[in-house]
């Protein structure tokens, strides 16, 4: 411990020494600026006359500097913020080149830049003589600082999601830019502004080369006074400079400090009373028009030959056709990377299908219509709620774009709030909501604008299992009562079965099968679908003389639903766990040994070795008990045997 203490004091000592080095001359200059005669020291008396003298001599430089600083700030804001937006949004070779340029104010000495500007534009005398040439120099020097500061914040917020969220609600480019992008980038813009202004006020290297006797800025004046005036005046002038930059520095520090977030921490959120949604239908019928009434507003969706190849050459989607009836809820289901999101984004208008693809809403060809004009409601996996707005403002955003009056908006917002049971959160900021509450705000926001179709991309994936269940029920009831055409993307087969009127199973950018949940489960068209949904067992067998060979003996093919047309030869048979029964010896189709058993409460899962290629999984009632090695016999439900 003793050694640690030594170390501490050694470091403290070094730090103090450094501080002295930096601060002593500052104190000296302040003293010198208010001392009558610095050579004789403070005992000669204190005075403000040097400060007044400076004001008299150099007043103009102060105003020039402030003026140029403000103008420089204005220009860097106007051209820098959009540029930062472009560079965050569009990652291309051109952007990388631009990023290279951002290092320039550090890399190229101001002197060289000033020289270059002088040589190029110095011959225009009126320009050369004006303060504008200084301003230009300052902008070249400070613009990258503004752009970088804004880029930093724009990369930190989820710009893409927020913008797509706004577009899905109908926000057009400039609306998104000014109402979503700018407000959410405010901290970066503010930090960049202070930086630019401070840099411009203190800029000397360029300015010294570019100034004329009539366009002196503060640092140029300082250099003048240091060279040609008595020390007291130089010092007094420096005091003036300190007083100008101190507020700027304080403001910068204040911005840089991590704000104590108003967010309630996660644990608190968990305990927040959640209304018992399960007991009461979330969608209140009195608030919503009956389904039949709504149905005529909702539209069918048709994809024709929609493929998607990304610019990097990766083929996310083979050309597919898909038809969705009005009011239907279609669930797109499939493993990760199979193209679900891509399909949804094509429907939404966030991606264009490859050449030849067509998206139709009813009879309207919307292929070339951008998302903000398609009138779709979209719920994003990340929710894409606007952090700069509270709950009510988020819900009202799309309505505002549609030009609804204030009263109308308020009415609809309240309607949505009560429908989603969010009344008490009306004025909360988004970061003060729990995951489930955010989810419901996102739904409310999407539905508020009465979209033609509702698109949901894995809306529940970010939530914990319990919340997922209750929200799934809520969403189900909501979709049924609103009667809107909905496309719901998930990789969770339980969710798909529960919600879908129709399930579209995707695999490697293709539609593997589409049909009702029951169809998909009981009559899968191919092995992928059968295997992806539910559990599938495989045994090897043979068809010979129109008979199926099973270990227990031969069974005629006639009457076995999926096998009747099977040709002769070896065959793989597939069946689900629930289509087997454990039976008394002599009555089963298969014999085997229990390899392992898991008691799961309501049932017992068994893994059984039936001397085929693979072990098979079956289920027994929970009450039954098995030990490994037990010999059991299984009877298959022949109507649920598949072969592909």
């Amino acid at each position: 411990m003793k050694k640690r203490a030594h170390l501490f004091y050694a470091q403290l000592g070094l730090t103090l020494l450094t501080c002295l080095f930096l601060v002593v001359p500052v104190v000296q200059s302040i003293l010198a600026g208010v001392t009558k005669n610095y050579f004789r020291g403070v005992k000669s008396g204190l005075t403000l006359k040097w400060i007044f003298k400076v004001w008299e001599l150099y007043r103009d430089t102060i105003f020039t500097s402030i003026f140029i600083g403000v103008a420089c700030l204005a220009i860097t804001l106007i051209i820098g913020v959009p540029a930062a937006y472009f560079m965050v949004k569009k990652k291309s070779r051109f952007t990388r080149l631009m990023e290279e340029f951002l290092v320039i104010p550090l890399a190229i000495p101001g002197l060289a830049i000033a020289l270059a500007i002088l040589i190029s534009y110095g011959q225009f005398t009126s320009f050369r003589k004006s303060w504008i040439i200084i301003l230009i120099g300052h902008v070249v020097f400070t613009l990258p600082f503004m752009i970088r500061s804004v880029i930093a914040i724009m990369s930190a917020i989820n710009l893409k999601d927020l913008e797509e969220g706004a577009a899905s609600l109908g926000g057009e480019f400039w609306n998104r830019f000014f109402h979503i992008i700018i407000p959410n980038s405010m901290p970066g813009i503010l930090a960049g502004s202070l930086m630019v202004f401070t840099l411009s006020i203190g800029e000397f290297n360029l300015t010294w080369m570019l100034h004329t006797p009539f366009t002196k800025t503060l640092p140029v004046g300082l250099a003048d006074s240091y060279a040609s005036m008595r020390l007291e005046i130089g010092s007094a002038y420096t005091i003036v400079f300190f007083f100008m930059i101190i507020p700027l520095l304080l403001a910068m520090q204040w911005i840089a400090k991590p704000k104590k977030s108003t967010a309630i921490n996660a644990d608190e959120l968990k305990d927040m009373p959640m209304k018992p949604q399960q007991t009461k239908p979330a969608a209140n019928p009195s608030v919503n028009a009956p389904k039949a009434n709504r149905k005529k507003d909702s539209t069918s969706i048709h994809l024709r030959n929609c493929g998607k190849t990304f610019p990097d050459g990766s083929r996310a989607l083979e050309p597919i056709d898909l038809d969705i009836d009005p009011g239907q809820t279609v669930v797109i289901l499939g493993p990760s990377g199979c193209g679900k999101t891509t399909t949804l984004r094509i429907i939404a208008g966030l991606e264009n299908p490859d050449e030849g693809g067509k998206v139709l809403f009813g009879d309207d060809d919307v292929t070339d219509i951008p998302i903000e004009k398609r009138n779709v409601g979209m719920v994003f996996q990340s929710y894409a709620l606007f952090p700069n707005m509270n709950v009510a403002e988020n819900i009202a955003y799309g309505l505002k774009i549609r030009g609804d009056s204030k009263e109308k908006r308020e009415g609809r917002v309240n309607e949505m709030l009560s429908m989603m049971q969010l009344e008490e959160f009306k004025n909360r900021k988004i970061d003060q909501l729990s995951g489930g509450q955010r989810q419901r705000v996102a739904l409310a926001r999407a539905i508020a604008v009465r979209p033609r179709v509702l698109l949901l991309d894995e809306p529940l994936t970010a939530l914990d299992a319990k919340l997922r269940d209750s929200l799934r029920i809520e969403i189900d009831m909501l979709l049924k009562s609103v009667g809107i055409t909905a496309v719901y993307v998930t990789h969770d087969q339980g969710e798909a079965m529960a919600l879908g009127d129709k399930i579209v199973v995707m695999d490697h950018g293709r539609i593997a099968m589409s049909g009702s949940p029951r169809d998909v489960y009981f009559n899968p068209e191919n092995h992928f679908v059968a295997d992806f949904i539910g559990t599938l067992n495989t045994i090897e067998s043979e068809v010979k003389d129109r008979m199926l060979t099973l270990p227990s003996g031969k069974i005629p093919l006639n009457g076995i639903k999926h096998l009747e047309s099977k040709t002769e030869g070896p065959v793989k048979l597939f069946f689900r766990p629930e289509h087997t029964k454990i039976v008394d010896p002599g009555l089963g189709h298969l014999k085997g040994n229990v390899v392992s058993s898991f008691f799961m409460g309501d049932k017992t899962s068994l893994v059984v070795d039936v001397q085929s290629a693979e072990l098979i999984k079956i289920e027994a009632q929970g009450i039954q008990k098995f030990t490994n090695g037990d010999r059991i016999e299984l009877k298959l439900d022949l109507n649920h045997l598949f072969t592909f």
Binding site: T18, F21, K89, L106, L111, R148, W208, A223
Partner: protein, 273 residues
């Protein structure tokens, strides 16, 4: 992306691009061309690299900047980590003191050095009281180095503090739990974690020192450093070609240093600064 939106998106970048091309790219190109317009033509670069005065200036400027960078990194590295890791009364005042000079223009820094070690400097007064001899460093290479340190330390301290804040404390705790001594922790955990930040802020520090005009302008009455030589070539000798050529050399060196650091640190300087 649909047509109109693409048009708007292009509209967001056009003003910045236009400005940069008009007032940076073209003038820099002009500067490069101008450097060959002297009587020597392209031979100016040969002359630059064979004239002893320029070579000496270059040597001293690089040496000065490099030395200052090393000292700055050591001092700011220690102080930065120290301030980030320890809590004691008055700490925020120390931090404020260390970062206050961040916004000083070079001329003010020069003036600070004059007040510190100039003819009426406090160091001189103290040294006279002790040894009877007045210590005046301000107008020498030493004074210039102090000036460069003065504007470099605050910048690097801020970066180090930010980098130290991001270091995962559990890494150090893990090292301790495995029996590492304080020095081992510094060597094996702290310094490696700080290295990218130190490299990039060191490179920025070097580049700024190479091009520092204001400080040198106030102090370097007798010393030739590159920016001062460029300035005198341009204003006093009206040797525009040589001034341009030297500017290009200076730009190439600083750009090269930054690019090298960027590859070494493996991250964008834009993020570090």
């Amino acid at each position: 992306m649909h047509g109109r939106n693409r048009f708007y998106l292009v509209a967001t970048i056009m003003p910045a691009v236009t400005f940069f091309v008009a007032f940076f790219v073209l003038p820099m190109a002009r500067l490069a061309v101008e450097s060959t317009f002297g009587p020597e033509g392209i031979g100016i670069y040969l002359k630059m690299l064979t004239t002893q005065r320029y070579l000496e200036t270059l040597f001293w400027t690089v040496l000065l900047s490099f030395g200052v960078t090393l000292v700055t990194l050591v001092i700011s590295g220690i102080s930065g980590v120290f301030l980030q890791r320890n809590d004691f009364p008055g700490k925020s005042i120390l931090v404020a003191m260390l970062t206050f000079p961040l916004a000083f223009p070079g001329v003010v820094v020069g003036f600070m050095i004059i007040l510190l070690v100039g003819r009426q400097g406090i160091v001189g007064d103290i040294s006279r009281a002790i040894t009877g001899e007045k210590l005046v460093l301000a107008y020498s290479m030493m004074g210039l180095s102090l000036g460069y340190l003065y504007f470099s330390i605050p910048r690097v301290v801020t970066t180090v503090m930010a980098a130290a804040e991001k270091i995962d404390l559990s890494l150090e705790e893990a090292a301790r739990s495995l029996g590492a001594s304080t020095w081992d922790v510094v060597k094996d955990v702290l310094i490696p974690a700080l290295t990218p930040g130190l490299i990039s802020s060191g490179a920025i520090c070097f580049a700024t020192s190479m091009g520092a005009f204001g400080t040198a302008f106030t102090l370097a009455t007798d010393i030739d450093v590159l920016p001062i030589v460029i300035y005198t070539e341009f204003t006093l000798s009206a040797n525009i070609a040589m001034a341009s050529a030297l500017s290009i050399l200076l730009g190439l060196i600083t750009w090269g240093a930054l690019t090298l650091a960027r590859t070494a640190a493996g991250e964008s300087l834009a993020a570090a600064a």
